[in-house]
Symmetry: C2
Subunit: 193 residues, 2 copies
Amino acid sequence: MIILGVDPGLTRCGVGVIEAGAYRRLSFIHVDVVRSDPHESQDLRLLKIYNGLCAKIDEFAPDTVSIERVFAQENRNTVLGTAQAAGMAMLAAAQRNIPVALHTPTESKMAITGNGKAEKIQVERMVARILSLNTLPKPADAADALAIAICHALRPQGALEGGEREQHLTAAQRQWAQASQHAAHGRGVRRGM
Amino acid sequence: MIILGVDPGLTRCGVGVIEAGAYRRLSFIHVDVVRSDPHESQDLRLLKIYNGLCAKIDEFAPDTVSIERVFAQENRNTVLGTAQAAGMAMLAAAQRNIPVALHTPTESKMAITGNGKAEKIQVERMVARILSLNTLPKPADAADALAIAICHALRPQGALEGGEREQHLTAAQRQWAQASQHAAHGRGVRRGM
């Protein structure tokens, strides 16, 4: 199963591709950053990001596109552009009938390090270890894109199915479910996407 | 000059088309709402909105697509979906080499009623009067889409060119420039798009 992870961004949009084999064995396939020029107009920047993501999806033909979920309460200057870049990834996948999964940064950290509040460097080291990379993936956007792809591969089945009841989950799965719930509700109502 | 206005929304995305002739004479061409089902997944909803907007743009071949600007500080549940719907409109226009204009609600009210803080019903009445409609445009999303198209047609040249200095502007143009500035800076730094 090929998973293409997207760390959405309007200036730099990370793309990471992995293969998830039997026994949760994960292999690195590709990592890159799709960029747009901040001096161009918003519409042309979105077109650039969209075209770049379409090219990656067509090249690697993923079974799932896994995208980092954007929250409105992250009230940074760039949040709308980030949401729109995520929208470009969703559109590109939907146009090709490829399922889309949205994962929060907390879910990603939990899946990769076992700690939803792990430091960035911890996550990068674990990404490198899980994918048997000799060096840390660079740049950071690319590492995050690999992390969000790995997150989808390592997610507990309870999270996958969505309909599983908590009592059927293992301890790790319960922890995951709580992290998801925290992300969806604890930080305020889930916003918009 | 054909102008296609978009009042972005994920559930209901208003589309209004007008023709701007000589002496700022404006004629009504079309109004409609592109919808997506709130029960569908985000990616399929964006695909629906994108396809609907592409169909409208291809049908009416506008010279400009005028879109209501979205602000992150409108911290509603729906702001990210709204921004993504606006992104779909920008992408659809950019793919066809059609220029995109973003206008704030304040600019739109100012252009149509002369008052940047006009009530919704005032704006709707003026839209109907400007376009010589016998009844108020319905539904509200559609009226807003016509308003944003009219706003682009009636904008002062100072706003159009962007490079004009304030001292070259008429009183109305200065008022407009101030409204734009208020929208961009007075409500906090402009966010993301």
